[in-house]
């Protein structure tokens, strides 16, 4: 018989902190009371969840990179932009399939576009870590300067390769339009974004909680030195996390480009404000916090945009201020040593 205690033998259990999740639900219910129309509320809620989950895909890597190595990567938006531009190029190649009225043909165009966006952004992340980040480990000011500089150079390279104009990134016919259920209109693309976002969150949660690599990442976020003293090479782990974070940002960028149906070189830079708000609200280094923070930001942006458009622009800053006044370390703070 195993010496390891079974769940029933080990009496004390950790209490999960559900308060932030309940706040998300509370905001949704409060918005329902203010909006008054069920169909409008469902449409806004799905839009908010889709926006939140797309932000989560883009932000999850950055929060781990910061948590694991204290690296402030202001060029994270570059990976988002590259993902979007690569998706544009691949969808051009598969133009006929992307424009066909067939789910299988559309999938045959979208899948390689998303895969290429993920892989190219990941490879760029590997190059970026080696050339730009590695020389400035532990030097925050230099990290801000050099990653911002790297982003400016890379944006100019995007101009050279894809040109300075805004490019269309049209959704294939399968993802256009909406499902109508009574008065409720559910946009197909937003539903697809929700499904992809939830699948990525589930995959990340599984890796972080059920694999040794995941344990090492969580341990490394808390205490890098002790992980090294146990015989693990944290630098290799960091490179892997950095590449995975860049790849996810590339995937998120491709999806965000489809969400907006257009791509500009500033697509990533524009997202960075929301991404920083999300990872700060969530607690730096916390993937669970990033997930809840992203949902909060997505829902609040959509509800406030409908209820009071004049304050929509500042609503997420206000949200961040309120959350930090309540929990200064974020919703799910990581204990760092």
């Amino acid at each position: 018989m195993s010496a390891q205690p079974a769940q029933a033998d080990a009496l004390p259990q950790a209490r999960t902190d559900f308060i932030p999740v309940l706040i998300v639900v509370g905001i949704a219910l409060g918005a329902f009371a203010l909006i008054g129309s069920a169909s409008t509320w469902v449409t806004l809620t799905v839009a908010g969840l889709a926006m939140g989950l797309l932000i989560f895909i883009m932000a999850s890597g950055l929060t781990l990179v910061f948590g694991l190595m204290d690296v402030m990567n202001f060029a994270h938006g570059l990976f988002i932009a590259i993902g979007a531009y690569v998706a544009v190029s691949v969808l051009r190649i598969f133009g006929a399939a992307a424009g066909a009225d067939s789910f299988a043909a559309n999938l045959a165009a979208i899948a390689p576009a998303l895969l290429a966006a993920t892989v190219v952004a990941g490879l760029l992340g590997l190059f970026f870590e080696r050339v730009i980040i590695r020389p400035v480990y532990g030097q925050h000011l230099k990290q801000i300067l050099i990653t911002t500089g790297g982003m400016i150079v890379a944006e100019q390279l995007i101009h050279v390769i894809w040109g300075p104009d805004q490019l269309p990134l049209l959704r294939p016919p399968t993802l256009r339009g909406a499902f109508l259920i009574g008065d409720i209109a559910l946009e197909k693309f937003r539903l697809a974004a929700v499904v992809i976002g939830l699948a990525i969150f589930a995959a990340l949660a599984l890796i972080l909680n059920r694999t040794k690599i995941g344990l090492l990442i969580r341990a490394g976020v808390e205490n890098k030195e002790m992980v090294e003293a146990m015989g693990y090479r944290i630098r290799r782990l960091f490179v892997a996390v950095f590449v995975a974070g860049a790849a996810l940002a590339g995937l998120g960028g491709a999806l965000w480009g489809m969400y907006q149906e257009s791509v500009t070189v500033l697509i990533g830079a524009h997202m960075m404000v929301l991404i920083f708000i999300v990872i700060i609200i969530g607690g730096l280094g916390s993937v669970g916090g990033c997930f809840v923070g992203a949902l909060l930001v997505g829902l609040v942006a959509n509800y406030v945009g409908y209820l009071s458009p004049k304050i929509a622009l500042g609503s997420n800053i206000l949200l961040m201020v309120i959350v930090l006044l309540w929990r200064p370390q974020g919703l799910y703070p990581m204990s760092k040593q």
Binding site: A10, E222, M230, Y232, Q337
Partner: protein, 241 residues
């Protein structure tokens, strides 16, 4: 005397502009528990961290089991079979007791017999198996930190002030655990300020002052010589039991 598992010769360590270790020479006999004593600021913690490569030596040699490890990175030093229990305990607060031990078991899954052996010393580890380590008491955190270091057989364990800040009953518990551990002939280098614990457990002793070794010998001899204790440590072990 047993042969030396670890030997430091002329080790210097700088932290920023500070010259902390100023030519440290001592040996840790194989299969024994060596106590590293000294006043606050003498360089004891720096010595352990230098051995682990966390604050690399700027000069000198550190031989472990015949190999010079002074210029090696920390993970490859740990891979040689050296475990480190820092003064801060270094537990991963967000990970459960089980996950902390899983990470410490580098070579594979947890060994059941070894776990039973650990649970005998520290029953709290079994009771709080699924609890995040950050919710444990100070004494339980220390037990977890030590459990991690022995979850697999190690050649050498470096322990930094394991009894610091703990209640006397917990200290006695830890002393018993280290006595059991000594029976496995694991080599231990321990920094300790609690002289009762130091005298109870130590086979050999090394005393530091201002970044240098000022005495090395058998613990029994130091424990028996009050004048020597007062000269080296500024006080007598007898009055600090």
């Amino acid at each position: 005397m047993a042969d030396a598992l670890l030997a430091l010769a002329g080790v210097h360590t700088h932290i920023g502009h500070y010259h902390i270790l100023q030519g440290v020479d001592f040996a840790v006999p194989r299969g024994e528990l060596t106590m590293l004593l000294g006043r606050n600021g003498a360089g004891k913690t720096t010595t352990l961290r230098t051995i682990m490569g966390l604050w690399p030596a700027s000069a000198g040699s550190i031989h472990f089991d015949g190999a010079d490890i002074a210029r090696r990175p920390t993970p490859s030093i740990a891979e040689l079979g050296i475990a480190y229990v820092p003064e801060s305990m270094g537990i991963f607060a967000g990970l459960t007791v089980q996950e902390n031990l899983l990470l410490a078991a580098r070579s594979g899954p947890l060994d059941d017999a070894r776990l039973e052996w650990i649970f005998r010393f520290f029953p709290a580890m079994k009771k709080f198996w699924f609890l995040p380590a950050g919710l444990l008491s100070g004494g339980q955190k220390q037990m977890l930190s030590i459990s991690r270091s022995i979850v697999e057989p190690r050649k050498l364990i470096l322990v930094d002030e394991p009894t610091k800040g703990l209640a006397p009953s917990i200290i006695n518990n830890l002393i018993e655990a280290f006595r059991e551990l000594k029976k496995t002939e694991t080599t231990i280098l321990m920094v300790e300020q609690n002289f009762h614990a130091a005298r109870s457990l130590g086979d050999a002793v090394v005393v530091m002052d201002s970044g240098r070794i000022v005495h090395s010998g058998r613990m029994a001899e130091l424990a028996a010589d009050e004048a020597l204790q007062t000269r080296l440590l500024g006080l007598s072990l007898e009055v600090h039991q």
